[in-house]
């Protein structure tokens, strides 16, 4: 071992500590960088040489940079981001929906509903008098207006969800192309054996975190370090390529998600998009349906009672509200459907599918109960009648043709007051009893307390109360679940932070440690230099 060897050792020490100081400053600089993982220098002794008297050390080697990182926690974090994103969307949507039904501030239907029936009380007490009738008509218009406002708000929320899905899709595609670009950089760096692409890894991880807040996906990493991202069993990112996620309108006017040519909507359950899709389904299949059902039953029951009475102008069989029609849709190439209501009293207010298993054999299925309402052999031009409805199909029917009939779809859209002349309001139950007979008005008032078979034998108010308590409990459950997911996310983030985060105190100590070591190494070189001087001066 020579003096020059000492100079070499000093050089390695200077170099290694310099690199370590570099890393400390990089850590301090990135203390606030999201997703950054603390780095540390990997130091080792240089390969020793065999000298006189044994192995001689040759100084320190800087082997590389290690990132403090734990895969297991990262996986948990991704999952938690997905749950969190979903509950975030649900809470946001339900909080808006609950404002539509905010009976705590009299925003809902019940005030105008009560006003309407109170107006009937006034007509019952003064059947021959005009002002009360005018008030009744006004309150009927107010009832129509609040129903329409609520329907409009519900539709607005669905539209907002669709826009939001579009918007998030754009963000997902940006993230996907970033991940693909980072994949490329990472494999290039790591293939060159120049070490681990720590910062790129962190950036990619950060994009994956953000992505998991939006949509649920699975990943796997190949041997080169590429991460493949799959959503709905289709590749979103594969190596340095992406398949753009796109949205298309379906027949209901709702956005559906397409990836790599496949409709993946049904596979998305988590992330913000998963939450939005769920909320949209619930609004349309549950809330909107129930709301329309109560409006349809108000129209139906009020009209059935009203038609039995006589107006001051001796007319009868008048509808109070404009009777609703049937909404139809055909899933058939060559056939069209027309549906009419023949007897309102027989209506179930359910929705039906008419399916042809061959060109002349049909069966009608009730969507709400799942039971078969009618079935038979179809002869072209025949009328299919069931539960107060007549169905006529024209054109060529082929096997597997399907038709949809619903009394609810457009019921609120077409909701209006049919009576314009107050004298046509039928308070009297007989022609002879005019003008002061009020038996029909009393029957109308009783209707408000009656159990309605179309509403599962509940009164209007009880059925409506069911809708309110359902939205309320959904919202409150969404809030609970959001705060649970949020806490869990914080817990896992903290565990990640505990492993990967930067501590200023720690870095301060490291800074001091490496600074001193650097100073010592420099001193060592100086000493070696002095030793050389001593020898040269001999």
């Amino acid at each position: 071992m020579s003096i020059l060897g000492m100079l070499d050792i000093g050089k390695t020490a200077l170099y290694a500590n310099m690199r370590a100081l570099n890393i400390v400053s990089h850590n301090i600089a990135n203390i606030n960088t999201p997703g950054f993982s603390r780095q540390e220098a990997i130091l080792s002794t240089m390969t020793p040489v065999l000298g006189k008297g044994g192995m001689m050390g040759r100084g320190v080697a800087f082997l590389g940079i290690r990132r403090s990182y734990e895969d297991y926690i990262q996986t948990q974090l991704l999952k938690q981001h997905q749950n969190h994103g979903r509950s975030y969307s649900l809470l946001e949507t339900y909080s808006r929906i609950e404002q539509i039904f905010n009976e705590a501030k009299d925003f809902g239907l019940s005030k105008s509903f009560n006003d309407y029936f109170n107006a009937w009380h006034e007509v019952a007490a003064n059947p021959e008098s005009s002002p009360q009738r005018v008030v009744l008509l006004q309150s009927a218009h107010a009832l129509v207006d609040s129903a329409k406002r609520m329907e409009h708000d519900l539709l607005d929320n669905v539209r907002y969800i669709n826009e939001e899905i579009d918007h998030l899709t754009g963000r997902i595609n940006t993230i996907a192309s970033n991940i693909a670009a980072l994949n490329d950089k990472i494999i290039q760096i790591e293939a060159g054996n120049t070490g681990s692409a720590n910062d790129y890894q962190d950036q990619r991880q950060n994009f994956l975190n953000e992505l998991s807040g939006l949509i649920d996906y699975s990943t796997y990493e190949d041997d080169f370090g590429n991460i493949t991202v799959m959503a709905g069993m289709r590749n979103l990112v594969y190596r340095d390529k992406t398949n753009p996620l796109s949205t298309k309108l379906n027949e209901n006017g709702d956005k559906e998600l397409f990836l790599d040519g496949m409709n993946i909507t049904r596979h998305i359950e988590k992330g913000r998009i998963g939450g939005l899709l769920d909320a949209r389904d619930d609004i349309q299949n549950n809330l909107q349906n129930k709301f329309r059902r109560i409006i349809a039953s108000i129209i139906k029951e009020v009209n059935l009672v009203h038609r039995q009475g006589y107006g001051l102008d001796t007319s009868n069989l008048n509808d109070f509200f404009t009777p609703f029609g049937l909404f139809t849709k055909d899933f058939s190439a060559g056939a069209d459907i027309t549906a009419t209501i023949t007897d309102y009293s027989q209506l179930t207010l359910d929705e039906y599918d008419i399916t042809f298993d061959s060109a002349n054999n049909y069966y009608v299925t009730n969507r709400n109960t799942g039971s078969v309402a009618a079935t038979g052999v179809y002869v072209s031009g025949d009328t299919i009648s069931f539960e107060g409805m007549n169905i006529v199909i024209t054109g060529t029917i082929t096997a597997n043709d399907k038709f949809f009939v619903s009394p609810l779809t457009q019921v609120v859209k077409n909701f209006s007051v049919a009576i314009t002349d107050p004298n046509k309001i039928a308070a009297s139950s007989t022609l002879a009893g005019l003008p002061a007979n009020n038996e029909n008005a009393l029957a109308m008032i009783r209707l408000s307390q009656n159990k309605i078979s179309n509403l599962g034998n509940l009164t209007f108010t009880n059925y409506y109360r069911g809708i309110i308590s359902e939205t309320a409990s959904f919202t409150s459950a969404a809030r609970d679940s959001f705060s649970f997911e949020e806490n869990l996310l914080m817990e896992i983030s903290n565990r990640r932070e505990s492993i990967s985060g930067v501590s200023l105190d720690e870095e301060a100590i490291n800074l001091m440690k490496f600074q001193r070591s650097y100073e010592a190494a420099a001193k060592m070189i100086k000493v070696t230099d002095e030793l050389l001087q001593t020898i040269l001066n001999l």
Partner: protein, 333 residues
């Protein structure tokens, strides 16, 4: 567990946020005075409060109906009481009319008073309350009794209003019940030996036959169906000094008077029943308002102390965070 700077910052921010959220929720409750500001604040509470509000609303409507019924029924009761006073006076005059001490001139002067009482009865029977002929049944736009023939022109309809969920009260009385005459088939012998037969006909029409002492020969016959017609016949009989007719009318007036008294009592009874209903209605409204307030309204003392607690927590948090965040090992290097 290794604690990093970010964890400390993050924890402060979250705790501060949580406390501020609580504070703003409490402030909203204080500002609105309500515990339930949106349905999800209290899922059970919102449906209960909806129920209470509906019941209060209905009670208010029943109260309005009751007020309507009371004003109608009081009017009817007052009218009927006038009718009974009038009939009582006619009864007295009839008794004077049949007396042997009254002569033809005396009967004529009685007749002129009876004629006035007849017109008074007619105007009572055609009473209007708020533009509504009160005794016409459902035909409230038609005079109850024809002013010349005194025939009933209304029908038998009762206008009912709901005074609570189950029960209704009629706010009117059809004219036939108060002014109409309902007699039974009977015969009486007058003190001059003649017989009087009362023969009920269709509806409330009564035919009166005055027969000779042999109870076979019909000397005189007339018919009526209500008190106005009776009073009219009485007027004519007094004018023409037909004491037998006057005599024959004594018993019908007696019966008509009893009938009116009964109706007066009946109207009073309904008013009493409504009074009870009003009391229970108001009682129940008060109860409902109390429970509604318990469900919806905020407990002020509680909310103010919650706010104070929150404010203290926030102040403490700020103080401790300033100390912890502002220092690191770098300060000592």
């Amino acid at each position: 567990m290794r604690v990093t700077s970010f964890m400390i910052y993050d924890q402060f921010i979250r705790s501060l946020q949580r406390n501020l959220t609580n504070l703003s929720e409490s402030n909203e409750k204080l500002a609105t005075g309500r515990k339930i500001n949106k349905p999800s604040d209290d899922v059970i509470g919102i449906t209960r409060s909806l129920d209470y509000k509906l019941s209060i609303n209905l009670n208010n409507q029943y109260k309005k109906n009751i007020d309507e019924a009371v004003s109608h029924l009081s009017f009817t009761e007052m009218t009927i009481s006038s009718v009974s006073d009038t009939l009582n006076r006619i009864k007295e005059l009839t008794l004077i009319g049949v007396s042997d001490n009254t002569d033809a001139i005396g009967r004529q002067s009685i007749a002129s008073e009876v004629a006035q009482l007849r017109d008074h009865l007619l105007s009572l029977s055609n009473s209007k309350f708020r533009d509504r002929y009160m005794f016409s049944g459902y035909r409230t736009d038609t005079q109850s009794f024809n002013p010349t023939t005194y025939d009933f022109q209304g029908d038998d309809g009762y206008i009912n209003v709901l005074i609570d969920k189950e029960s209704t009260v009629p706010i009117n009385t059809p004219g036939t019940h108060v002014f109409g005459y309902t007699g039974v088939s009977e015969q009486i012998m007058l003190n001059n030996g003649r017989y009087v037969h009362y023969i009920p006909g269709a509806s409330t029409n009564i035919t009166v036959e005055i027969r000779d002492t042999d109870n076979v020969t019909v000397l005189d016959t007339f018919n009526f169906s209500n008190v106005m017609q009776m009073t009219d016949i009485l007027t004519n009989a007094l004018n023409s000094n037909n004491v037998t007719r006057v005599n024959a009318l004594l018993s019908p007036f007696e019966r008509a008077f009893t009938n009116v008294i009964n109706h007066q009592a009946y109207a009073g009874a309904i008013l009493n029943r409504i009074d009870n209903q009003t009391a229970s209605n108001e009682d129940s409204t008060l109860n409902l308002k109390t429970v509604l307030s318990n469900t919806e309204d905020v407990d002020l003392a509680e909310i103010i102390s919650t706010i104070a607690k929150n404010e203290t927590a926030i102040a403490a948090l700020r103080q401790s965070s300033v100390k912890q965040i502002s220092q690191s090992l770098f300060d000592f290097l």
